[in-house]
């Protein structure tokens, strides 16, 4: 399955993004990259089911929330 990011940009300028086909920490690094690309800041975040299907190179020790800057 290809790795994708679905980005929805509202008419008020806010952005919602969701990863698909990515597992483990790659989800986070991709979204951090998106944050830089768009000169934007994350205001809220949530893990979905696929995140917990960690890749073989990652561990299952994950926090309940994403790190916020």
């Amino acid at each position: 399955m290809s790795e994708q990011i679905i980005v929805r940009v509202g008419t008020d300028g806010t952005i919602q993004a969701e990863t698909k086909g990515m597992k483990g920490a790659k989800c986070l690094t991709s979204l951090e990259l998106l944050e830089q690309l768009l000169d934007a800041q994350v205001t809220s975040s949530a893990f979905t089911d696929e995140y917990t299907q960690a890749t073989p190179a990652t561990t299952n020790e994950i926090d309940d929330e994403l790190p916020q800057r």
Binding site: G10, D12, G13, Q16, T19, K20, T43
Partner: protein, 150 residues
């Protein structure tokens, strides 16, 4: 699905919307209204003002917008967010209404800027835009393929 996030472009202050206004009367009896906005970007603000059919001029660090009988002077507050000071044929209700219209135009400008930025910058980050569509609510959905950029 893996992770979902909500982002706010730095062009928009992280507040829900424009703030309540304050109105007073000057020595000549004219109504003065002040309204805080969520807008940060000067270029996008000027474009949004033009979208509301304002005649826009710049005076130093201030943006001046003129409509028929109403003038708004925009200046940045200490956080870099634009505040509007209204004079002329305006009361608090009308000032808030005008800011609402500007805020809507500004949001559309930001939306356009974000979509353009995404299309321009994605390849350099190893991503490519594989589809783009406008939704029924006029929001834009873009699908990025990761690992497919230039």
């Amino acid at each position: 699905m893996s992770v979902s996030i909500v982002l706010v472009p730095i062009a928009i202050a992280a507040i829900s919307a424009w703030q309540a206004s304050r109105s007073e009367t000057d020595v000549e009896g004219r109504t003065l209204c002040q309204v805080s906005t969520r807008m940060r970007d000067e270029t996008l603000l000027a474009a949004a003002l033009a979208d509301t059919r304002a005649v826009v001029t710049k005076a130093g660090a201030t943006l001046v917008a003129d409509w028929a009988g109403v003038r708004a002077e925009f200046a940045r507050d200490t956080d870099g967010i634009w505040q509007a000071h209204f004079t002329g044929d305006v009361d608090e209700e009308r000032a808030v209404g005008i800011i609402g219209a500007i805020d809507q135009a500004y949001g559309l400008r930001v939306q356009r800027a974000v979509v353009e930025k995404l299309k321009q910058r994605a390849p350099s980050a190893g991503m490519s835009v594989v589809s783009e569509r406008m939704e029924v609510d006029d929001s834009m959905t873009l699908v990025l393929e990761v690992g497919a950029g230039a």
